[in-house]
Symmetry: C2
Subunit: 198 residues, 2 copies
DNA sequence: CAAAAAGTAAACTATCAAGTGCACTTTATC
DNA sequence: GATAAAGTGCACTTGATAGTTTACTTTTTG
């Protein structure tokens, strides 16, 4: 790999780390340069301004988020097991350092510039990419009975986020202190209590 | 009222408004002074620094949040009606301009200085102040069957917050576009599906 | 109404950080 | 190995803004 490419990556990594730790506002370009082991001039040769650097980081992050397997409804497995599998996968994402970083940086900026929110809101992450389809098929198969599938999908994901993601994002709790398996179990149980046909 | 007291309030109001609109970081003390119709020196005579001013605003906000009626379990009303009443009251709080302002300012700062989160996490707002007690009594009366009351209370409140509060806070949606009555109905329904004795 | 307390306007200091210019060195490429 | 492309270090400009000083006016209070 060329030195130039290495430097570019170093700069992005350094900025991401620093933005995460101190916020975009409180990170100086000198700090970025130092941490990236590059000169400030090189930073500016790659990224014309701090804003451009920030945008580059956001893009890189969103690309990564598109990865991850999409689960499909399977007739031969119980609905509990399948929902539990989906919840498990989602929790892995929500508690990953990577995702928390992205979230923190993006949320900080969103609160400050509302225009950004619109563009981020349109992206879909994790199980939200396929959950609607999954529930639809579970309904067709008679395993679930849901009137408003969009709403139900949100209920499921929001419950996981509320217990697992937001408390850590805002620093109310640490990832370690959260009982994920219990929360997953309760989320599935509540969902089925509401939507399993009688 | 003395001029001095008026000025103090003007300054707090102005700062609150500006912090809400542009964030603490992007609000200058000159702006605060101008908006408060006070001289900058007066601002500094009341509040020794921007940080002191910010703390004063937070304190004032938290005091206001302690207001609001606490509902108690009543034998003669159905549990649906009572939960719906609680949800309604909570939604009024969550969608109020006042609360959204507090939240936005506080959340912005929390993301930037994690120490702040701890002190805020300890405060309880809205129905969280009395919901545990309420559910406990509903269980004693045989109207509900809950194993983990703390968890159930959070489920109830988190669902409302997820659908009504966070989307507005982050600018994904406006308060107007949200169907609160439908969300309240579904929240109560889901809660009862899970916790009403068979 | 006189003294003290508080407010005012505007210029000033100090600091911090974004971004630039330049002379020079290192790395890539033909 | 010569030439171009990229990186380096450091001093510099520029702009923003927190907080202060000063000389003066207004409000409060005994």
């Amino acid at each position: 790999m060329k030195l130039s490419d290495k430097k570019r990556i170093n700069i992005l990594d350094a900025a991401e780390q620093l933005f995460f730790e101190h916020g975009v506002q409180h990170t100086t370009m000198d700090q970025v340069a130092t941490q990236a082991k590059a000169s400030k001039r090189t930073v500016y040769n790659h990224f014309a301004s701090k804003d451009v650097l920030f945008d580059a980081i956001l893009s890189r992050m969103f690309e990564e988020l598109e990865e991850g397997e999409e689960l499909v409804f399977a007739q031969h497995m119980t609905i509990e097991r399948q929902l539990t599998a989906i919840a498990n996968q989602e929790v892995v994402l929500l508690t990953s350092d990577r995702f928390l970083r992205i979230a923190k940086i993006a949320f900080m900026q969103m609160l400050q510039q509302p225009t950004l929110a619109k563009s981020i809101a349109s992206n879909q992450f994790g199980c939200m990419r396929y959950l609607h389809e999954f529930l639809q098929q579970a309904c067709v198969a008679g395993e679930l009975h849901i009137e408003d599938i969009d709403f139900a999908a949100k209920q499921f994901v929001y419950q996981l986020k509320s217990f697992i993601f937001y408390p850590v994002l805002y620093g109310f709790e640490t990832s370690i202190s959260i009982q994920t398996s219990q929360i997953i179990e309760q989320t599935v149980r509540t969902f089925l209590a509401r939507y399993r046909p009688i």
